[in-house]
């Protein structure tokens, strides 16, 4: 076991792609509901990014079972390991649920979600009550994602900078010292 072992390249690419798209989807989502002039363009972008994330995360879940991740550094104890693996499961769950809730919420208004200009089949019945429940859920899940991602990044930064255990380098690209 090496403490500097990395994730397979495809896992690293999928991770950073997800990170960029999720940050974009969250910020666009929060901004678009206050926007007047850019509302329609931002909604179109948000729906496209959201469904793209759904596809990528499904690929990642398959990849998680077929590509073995590197071991954790020795700085991570048993309790912390439990917290990390549960929070990562929660993140996967949220990343699948959030686009599905968004898609269902648009479907419940009786119109198709549109992704890359293509209308998607509706996955929920036309119902304003169902729309409202899903719409509120979409906001709650967005804030949960913000919290879980903030915890994830904070943990990695603490380990990398305070404990100097190079945990971040498992997910980075490029040449490293000592490898």
């Amino acid at each position: 076991m090496s403490t500097t072992a990395r994730f397979p390249v495809r896992s690293r690419i999928l991770h950073w792609l997800t990170a960029i798209l999720v940050f974009a989807a969250l910020l666009i989502g929060f901004a678009m509901v206050n926007s007047i002039g850019s509302y329609a363009a931002l909604v179109a972008l948000h729906m496209t990014i959201g469904i793209t994330i759904l596809v990528i995360v499904i690929v990642r879940i398959v990849n998680r079972f077929t590509a073995k991740p590197p071991n954790w550094p020795a700085t991570i104890g048993r309790v912390e390991a439990k917290i990390i693996s549960n929070s990562e499961r929660l993140m996967y769950l949220l990343l699948v649920a959030q686009p599905l809730v968004g898609w269902a919420m648009v479907s419940a208004t009786g119109r198709p979600a549109v992704v890359f200009g293509v209308p998607l089949p509706r996955i929920a019945p036309f119902s304003d009550g169902l729309y409202f429940a899903l719409r509120q859920t979409h906001s709650v899940l967005a804030y949960l994602l913000v919290i879980v991602i903030a915890a994830h990044v904070s943990g990695v930064l603490l380990h990398t900078i305070a404990l100097r255990d190079r945990i971040l380098s498992r997910m980075t690209f490029g040449v490293r010292r000592g490898s």
């Binding site: 208004t109 009786g110 119109r111 903030a150």
Partner: protein, 341 residues
């Protein structure tokens, strides 16, 4: 360790700061909520109803395309054939139980092809031009026309300030005055006012404005009263279908997108088919009550222009829809069963 905590602190400050900024928690900007708040302050809060065009009745029917619109747009709705339609007639204003005023703006929302993949939604009014050409103009006009609690009328000073700042609205209001409203809903022409681009199968983009032009005269209501316009409409729909021809007005490339400006009267008109409305229902769960007639729900073959009113309408309708969908409902003013046929 301190460095680590510092890094985490810096990250969280940027991350949560971005979330707060995007959420508009920092400072206050001009948002769609500003419009919702203004509608509520002008008309009062009426839970479960639209914030504007609150009073209405649901209708259904179909659109019979004659195929002539296919020259301009590849949208499936313009191929010869029939598409189902749900719609809603309405009067402007946020009061769902107010008296029908002949001069109130009449609305017709349509969802053609509802609830399919290639729907075309449109929310039209019986005006020749839109009275404002920017979201700010709409807001300022609504604010200026808010009745003064002391007099029950709009404050003349506020209106004078609005007209001084918005000459385009003065000109549009003069055009509107030259086109007085017809006696009823059934004989009203309902127009898109905003400009769209129709895209043909060969990729040609044409600016288009459309109107639904009535084929019938309006019958009078059985008796005068609060709902005189709606009663007349319901009565007429109970006695038989109502029809409007869809006129696609073909613009020239330099025709104005600004909805306060008319297009030249010599523009070619393509008659694309007939809208047949043959049933009328009290607003109820699952009918047009619950449809957001968002003018940017468009099929392939129809694209929005860069008229800023379009995105603003889409945003504000969405805010109104979200608010009312979570509120308790009360019966609509127009009860179809109570209208004498």
């Amino acid at each position: 360790m301190l460095l680590g905590i510092g890094a985490v602190g810096a990250f969280l400050a940027v991350d949560l700061g971005a979330v707060a900024y995007a959420n508009d928690w920092i400072g206050s900007r001009f948002t769609r909520q500003s419009f919702i708040d203004l509608f509520e302050s002008v008309s009062g809060l009426h839970p479960g109803f639209r914030r504007n065009h609150a009073k209405g009745v649901a209708v259904a029917g179909h659109f019979e395309s004659n195929g002539d619109g296919a020259e301009l747009s590849e949208a499936a709705v313009f191929a010869a054939g029939t598409s189902p339609v749900v719609g809603r007639f309405s009067l402007s204003g946020g009061n769902p139980v107010g008296a029908d005023a002949p001069g109130a703006t009449r609305g017709l929302g349509l969802a053609i092809g509802f609830p399919g993949l290639h729907q075309w939604r449109t929310a039209m009014v019986n005006l020749p031009v839109f009275p404002v050409n920017s979201p700010q103009g709409f807001f300022d006009q609504l604010l200026a026309s808010k009745p003064d609690p002391a007099t029950g009328k709009p404050d003349p000073a506020a209106m004078a300030k609005f007209t001084a700042a918005h000459p385009e609205s003065v000109a549009a209001t003069n055009i509107i005055k030259q086109h007085p409203p017809t006696p009823g809903f059934a004989d009203s022409t309902f127009s898109s006012l905003n400009t769209f681009y129709f895209v043909s199968g060969s990729g040609a983009r044409t600016p288009v404005r459309w109107s639904f032009v009535p084929r019938q005269a309006a019958l009078p209501a059985a008796k005068p009263g609060r709902d005189v316009l709606f009663d007349a409409l319901v009565r007429q729909l109970k006695s038989g279908p109502l029809r409007w021809d869809l006129h696609l007005v073909v613009g020239a490339p330099d025709d104005p997108v600004d909805p306060t400006l008319l297009w030249p009267t010599d523009r070619r008109v393509v008659n694309a088919g007939v809208l047949v409305l043959d049933s009328v229902q009290t607003e109820a769960p699952g009918n047009a009550r619950d449809v957001n007639f968002d003018p940017l729900v468009l099929p392939d073959g129809i694209q929005p222009s860069d008229d800023p009113i379009l995105s603003a309408r889409s945003a504000i309708y969405a805010a109104s829809y979200r608010a009312r969908s979570g509120e308790p409902k009360s019966p609509s003013a127009i009860q179809v069963d109570e209208v004498a046929s």
